[in-house]
């Protein structure tokens, strides 16, 4: 182990040179570390995106099939019948481990009874509704749309801030089989209805039944261009999904459901599983991971770039260090000669060289870790900012204009064809939320990045020493005797 002692004595004696080597090595390692940090951060961010991108799988009536059934119907008045699926099946699919949560949507159309519907300037209350969740179970329509959901908080209207609860509470899963409702503020003010009051609606069937509804919450809708004539957003009442089903006589069944995934990477497998569970050809099961893909791309770009940095710096560092060491070996020919004449093996001489570099590597690791997180942070966020700008401009030009209907927000036009708009998607909002979350990359140094850095450093000095070893091994012992 004498070569370890020699390496120590050498480094201490050649303080200036050692310090210079420390600086060079630190510079190389700072770059390597920045690359590793950015790479790790991008990987973590990608995993987070994968988990939280909110890829959705919509189960809704197969429109083509619905229409062809209507045409082939022998009944005199051809009605568009929305197919239904048992809630037990929906729940079974919802309990898949890959599903984060799901939202059932049933709609029904009723007429106001104890109050007046909000009338719009452009239409009359008798016009058919085709708005959000258009697939009602009856062909005849009233002036009030009952939007039955599992949870109002998970509907697109609420997550996209098109609707916002202003008093009372949301409709949740525990409201199933109740007549609790959340109504719009405009409707409430016009009719002086407060939370806790009861309102009455009439069904649109020929023998109209009256239904008493309990107001548990009031929401405010952003009256935007999305409202259609005759369908003022104020006339949408949110209830549990069970109420529209009971109005249209399909108790225990539902017409559409949207599953939001725990992990976007499981999209294909889960779609298949859900298809198997629903097992109904009248339904189409379609997934939408556009926002996931859109978020994923910049992450992947950053990852790839960081990988390139790591490799480039590692290769450049190896070459630079190797050349420096080769030069120093030439200067140390005398010293090597003395050791060889003493009978020291060349392997031990190379070992001494390695030990010297290893000591410097340890010091450089400390310097790099002190500086690396700072540099990594700056570079990483710069990169991400650039990536997001390009990704936003990309989607703007390729995915086409938004459809302008609620629920269609972020979907590529092609995908909406097979599903009714009633199939709720959380698309637009989750992606917006994620973008915010990804504005900064987490560039903290983890133990694994320290290990990775140490590993890279070791490989770099090992390769550099190998380069130098060639020149040591080629040194002929006799040349040591003769010399200047």
């Amino acid at each position: 182990m004498n070569y370890l002692k020699r390496s120590r004595l050498y480094l201490v004696h050649k303080k200036g040179q050692s310090l210079l080597m420390l600086l060079i090595m630190s510079a190389i390692l700072v770059f390597v570390l920045s690359g590793i940090i950015i790479q790790n951060a991008a990987i973590t961010a990608t995993n987070n995106v994968t988990k939280s991108a909110g890829t959705t799988i919509s189960v809704a009536a197969n429109r083509d099939k619905m229409f062809s059934q209507m045409r082939s119907s022998t009944a005199k008045t051809k009605t568009l019948t929305t197919p239904t699926v048992a809630n037990t099946k929906i729940k079974k699919a919802g309990s898949l481990s890959t599903v984060a949560y799901y939202n059932i949507t049933n709609t029904a159309s009723v007429n106001a009874s104890s109050f007046d519907a909000v009338s719009t300037t452009t239409g009359t209350s008798s016009m058919p509704s085709g708005g959000p969740g258009g697939g009602g179970t009856t062909a005849s329509s009233g002036d009030i749309t009952i939007n039955g959901v599992s949870s109002t908080a998970h509907t697109t209207a609420f997550t996209s801030n098109q609707a916002k609860l202003v008093s009372g509470r949301n409709i949740t899963a525990s409201d199933a089989n109740t007549k609790n409702v959340v109504i719009e503020k405009e409707l409430a003010t016009d009719n002086s209805v407060k939370v806790g009051d009861t309102i009455t609606v009439k069904t649109t069937a020929s023998s109209a039944k009256k239904i008493k509804l309990k107001v548990v919450g009031i929401y405010k809708a952003k009256t935007s261009s999305t409202s259609m004539p005759g369908n003022d957003p104020s006339n949408t009442i949110y209830t549990s999904y069970t109420l529209p089903a009971s109005i249209s006589g399909t108790v225990g069944k539902s017409s559409s459901v949207t599953y939001t995934l725990e992990n976007s990477a499981k999209e294909k497998a889960t779609t298949k599983q859900i298809k198997q569970i629903i097992a109904n050809s009248s339904f189409s099961v379609s997934s939408d991971d556009a926002s996931y893909q859109q978020l994923l791309q910049p992450m992947k770009n950053v990852q790839a770039f960081a990988k390139k940095i790591v490799w480039l710096v590692a290769i450049a560092g190896t070459i630079i260090l190797g050349l420096i060491i080769i030069l120093s070996v030439r200067n140390r020919q005398r010293e090597i000669g003395v050791l060889v004449s003493l009978g020291e093996s060349k392997l031990h001489i190379i070992g001494q060289l390695f030990a010297e570099l290893f000591t410097i590597l340890i010091g450089a690791m400390v310097v790099a870790l002190l500086l690396g997180s700072f540099v990594g942070n700056k570079v990483g966020n710069q990169l991400l900012a650039q990536q997001q700008t390009t990704s936003v401009s990309n989607t703007g030009s390729t995915s086409g204009a938004p459809t302008g209907t609620p629920g269609g927000g972020n979907m590529p036009a092609g995908k909406t064809g097979g599903t009714l708009r009633g199939g709720m998607t959380n698309q637009a909002t989750t992606s917006a939320a994620n973008k915010k979350a990804l504005k900064t990359l987490n560039t903290s140094i983890t133990p694994s990045s320290v290990i990775k850095l140490g590993g890279m450093g070791l490989v770099i000095i090992a390769l550099a020493v190998c380069l130098a070893a060639v020149s040591i091994l080629r040194l002929r012992p006799k040349d040591i005797l003769i010399g200047e």
Partner: protein
């Protein structure tokens, strides 16, 4: 006993030999001096007997064993010690550490024995304070004395020196020659010294002259 048998050597492809069929032997307790013109091949010869190079033809035996069989590194480590004209020491450590390094590398039983080394250095006039200084702060004569102590303390029985006094004044040269004589006569080593200096050459127990491609023993 170190024996050189039928040694022939030439450099290059078809160059004429430096010397042919050299037969020499070196025994313990004696100082051998080799003189010869510049370029006659003295250093080349030392390289062979030091295990630093191999001749084109011929063999070298140590106590009957071919040194190729012993192995060059092993031979240098345990059998032979070399003193150069200069640059004998590792410049980044003290005289003490230089000798300790040699003892460690050669796996001597005295490795790590500082007092043993300090006493030996004191014997050639290098006090402890100087012994612990970086060797670059020592004079050429002092450095050469450290190299000789190093050759003395390692287990090697053959000491080879290539113009060990080349850079020293007469006074220092005389002191160095005295030390080499002690190595042979008191420490029972075989000492082989190459020199230009006829005064030093005359102090050898056996004087060898290399001329006209012949080693002549007198």
């Amino acid at each position: 006993m170190l024996t050189v048998k039928n040694l022939t050597h030439w450099y290059g492809k078809s160059g004429k030999p430096l010397y042919e069929n050299v037969n020499l032997s070196f025994t313990a307790d004696k100082v051998y001096t080799i003189v010869g013109a510049s370029g006659s091949g003295k250093t080349t010869f030392l390289a062979f007997i030091a295990g630093l190079d191999k001749p084109q033809a011929g063999e070298i035996f140590l106590d009957g064993e071919n040194i190729e069989k012993i192995g060059a590194t092993n031979y240098r480590k345990h059998k032979v010690a070399i003193v150069f004209q200069q640059y004998n020491l590792l410049m980044y450590m003290s005289a003490l550490d230089n000798v300790l390094t040699a003892l460690a590398v050669t796996a001597s039983q005295h490795k790590n024995d500082k007092q043993y080394v300090l006493d030996a250095l004191k014997g050639v006039g290098i006090e402890e304070a100087d012994a612990k200084k970086n060797v670059q702060q020592l004079s050429g004569g002092q450095q050469q004395r450290v190299a000789i102590i190093r050759a003395m303390l390692v287990d090697a029985n053959i000491v080879i020196a290539d113009e060990p006094t080349g850079n020293l004044d007469d006074e220092n040269s005389a002191m160095i020659v005295k030390l080499f004589q002690d190595l042979a006569h008191k420490h029972h080593k075989t000492v082989i010294i190459v020199t230009h200096d006829t005064k030093i050459a005359q102090k050898g127990d056996v004087q060898i002259k290399l001329a006209e491609r012949q080693f002549m023993v007198s």
